[in-house]
Symmetry: C2
Subunit: 402 residues, 2 copies
């Protein structure tokens, strides 16, 4: 180069790092690798034949609509079907709420933060929480305040203290059902209490519910959005875990006044979401029995979760704690004090078993963690058995040397 450039990156991005998970994702090509690190749905869960039939038909009968520019808010038929499903399955949708289609659930989170937060405004999140959301908040210049995640959801004392200490809180970001990474479900009592705290301190709630349909044990708990009489809750969802992750179709339901701004923000990001796949989703929802399809995924994940839990019970020393999720795709393991979590993760990688270090999910990127996240939806049964045995052996070796 004649004149090597020194790029002046914006303050918000100069310190941003790629997601640890996305980076681990790239190593998965290694032959013999066992991955418990992704957030991928089971490959068996994609309705391939149905998608093939629908896409052939769309390209035969309605190709121009499927390949031409479309509206930012999303394919009208899909918006309607999603809104109906939210109403019937989750009791969501006030008269002045509206539902739009986003490029994955990720975009719904990022757009909402962007239209609400000025630099330095606060977003409160469960600690630990979903790295994609935390990074989105960071990219908007928001200040993250983490509140401890307890076995039945966010700490109410911690949440109230955070709200009191940060009057510029723009929203509370929560994954109340089958939390990522914790695998924890917030109790009904806590959901009600969180909503009341949001009212008391006049802030918004982003309820992220990408796993909500994937319950395989226990009782359904109403969404926070279903309790929303104020237009205070923005609800984000996704087809990534129930139809296809690669198609990038998510949705957002919130008060229409707020959504109008979110639509403007979406317009400048990507104009609209791939319309062909919006049409595929709409046709799938109209023609096939989504509930039966989801029931099959639930059965598959019930099996995989039970297998992983029984392997962990067998392989891990009892000083290692882990959550017992009633749905979703993750569980969360915590090593005893004195064992070095990062050394453990490195040792696992050396044996080609990939897990995500708990530090990746911390609101404070410099904070330590004793935990790591395991995914059970993606690995084969065989890999679950083999991989957990390797993890158990590594921990036992570390304990022996400690």
């Amino acid at each position: 180069m004649n004149h090597p450039m020194n790029y002046k990156i914006s303050d918000k991005f100069v310190g941003m790092k790629p997601s640890a998970i996305r980076e681990i994702f790239k190593s998965l090509g290694t032959p013999g690798a066992i991955s418990f690190s992704g957030g991928n749905p089971a490959p068996d869960s994609f309705p391939v034949k149905e998608f093939a039939a629908i896409s052939a038909e769309i390209l035969e009968k309605n190709p121009v609509a499927a390949l031409q520019y479309s509206v930012t808010e999303g394919y009208p038929k899909l918006r309607e079907l999603v809104a109906d499903r939210l109403k019937t399955h989750f009791n969501i949708g006030a008269a002045d709420d509206t539902t739009i289609i986003t490029t994955g659930g990720q975009q719904a989170i990022e757009l909402t933060c962007k239209v609400l937060c000025n630099e330095g405004d606060v977003v409160i999140a469960e600690n630990p929480s979903f790295i994609g959301a935390l990074n989105a908040f960071r990219s908007c210049g928001a200040k993250l305040v983490g509140v401890e995640l307890e076995d039945d959801g966010i700490s109410l004392e911690g949440l109230e203290a955070a709200l009191k200490a940060n009057p510029n809180t723009k929203m509370i970001y929560l994954i109340p059902t089958f939390q990522n990474p914790g695998g924890i479900t917030t109790s009904l009592e806590k959901r009600k209490a969180v909503y009341e705290l949001a009212r008391k301190y006049d802030t918004l709630i982003f309820e992220d519910n990408p796993y909500g349909e994937l319950r395989f044990a226990g009782e359904e708990v109403p969404t926070i959005k279903s309790m929303d009489t104020d237009g205070r809750v923005i609800y984000g969802g996704s087809f990534s875990k129930v139809l296809s992750a690669g198609m990038r179709i998510g949705f957002l339901c919130a008060n229409e006044a707020l959504v109008a701004k979110i639509v403007v923000a979406k317009q400048v990001e990507d104009v609209h979401t791939n319309i062909f796949f919006q049409m595929i989703c709409a046709e799938y929802l109209s023609r096939y029995d989504m509930d039966t399809h989801i029931e099959e995924i639930r059965a598959l994940y019930r099996h995989k979760a039970q297998l992983m839990l029984s392997c962990l019970e067998k392989e891990l020393p009892s000083c290692v704690k882990f959550t017992k999720p009633e749905g979703g795709i993750f569980l969360w393991c915590t090593l005893p004090d004195g064992l070095d979590m990062n050394a453990f993760v490195k040792a696992a990688v050396a044996e080609k078993v990939f897990v995500v270090p708990g530090t990746a999910f911390n609101c404070d990127q410099d904070a330590p963690s004793q935990s790591f996240r395991l995914n059970y939806s993606m690995p084969s049964d065989d890999d679950i058995v083999k991989g957990t045995a390797i993890l158990g052996r590594i921990i036992k070796d570390m304990l022996a040397k400690a």
Copy 2:
């Protein structure tokens, strides 16, 4: 509502309005409407049969890869094919450049601005320019400085004055080939001079080239990126105008150090672009003759542009000026002083002929305009004939009353 919300929108979005074009787009369902307002490719230009064959094959042979999460940078085979095409067709791609896939060309623009600009940093653009880009810059909190667009490209005197006056200029945004909305192509001399000015004032250039393959008259002009020895030019392109707009696949080629940050920004926006359509694009580029396909689109647009130009010559009074594009999909008409452009656009809408008022493309949203944009790629021949006759009649009526 118990407690109506007063949403506190971020400073960047509180004043943002939906794109005039996207809003006009919604009215196009009106029966009998003639639209010269969109930026839509001709419906005939989509390779429907080829896409149908490829998508059936992908869903038969490789469905999991097509429906599962993928990497943020894009489908490796598509990145390679795009990089090859940029090299062979545009002489683009230094050893330390890299090419990534984005969710339409729009996302490439928005991501680049986001990783470069702090609030108040300056982006210089041709005035008028593409509304989607201008709104993206606004949404990042950048300050827009418009420089007059002359018949052979941006005013060099204006550009140097703007660079001198704004030392915090982060980039110059240009559409040098078949500009939107002007339909103007920047001369080779001006491209070289712009690059030298960028060097002199040490700033970056975003060269947006969504229409570059659509030349139907005149001689090819080298891209600015092909002259880039510094890593100073970020090149954005798109398949929207040559394969399908609705699939939302664009790309960006720039120095790898800068692209690394852009990838982080993309990760938090949408994780990755629809992978199924990235695979379709890659297969299309591998199996079919893209050049022949594009030659057909060029022939179609040559015909449509000539038809519109001959109609305008016939229907419009000679006091109305319009550009004569050598490619792309737009031309730009300017009313004589004394005629009210907004009144003209409203009168046209009342007769169901949609054009975009020139004010929409101004860097300064409060500045007036005597111009309007016409699109010729989307309307049928019949609509071009009928619509231009209506526009001509309205202008003659207005002149008669003036």
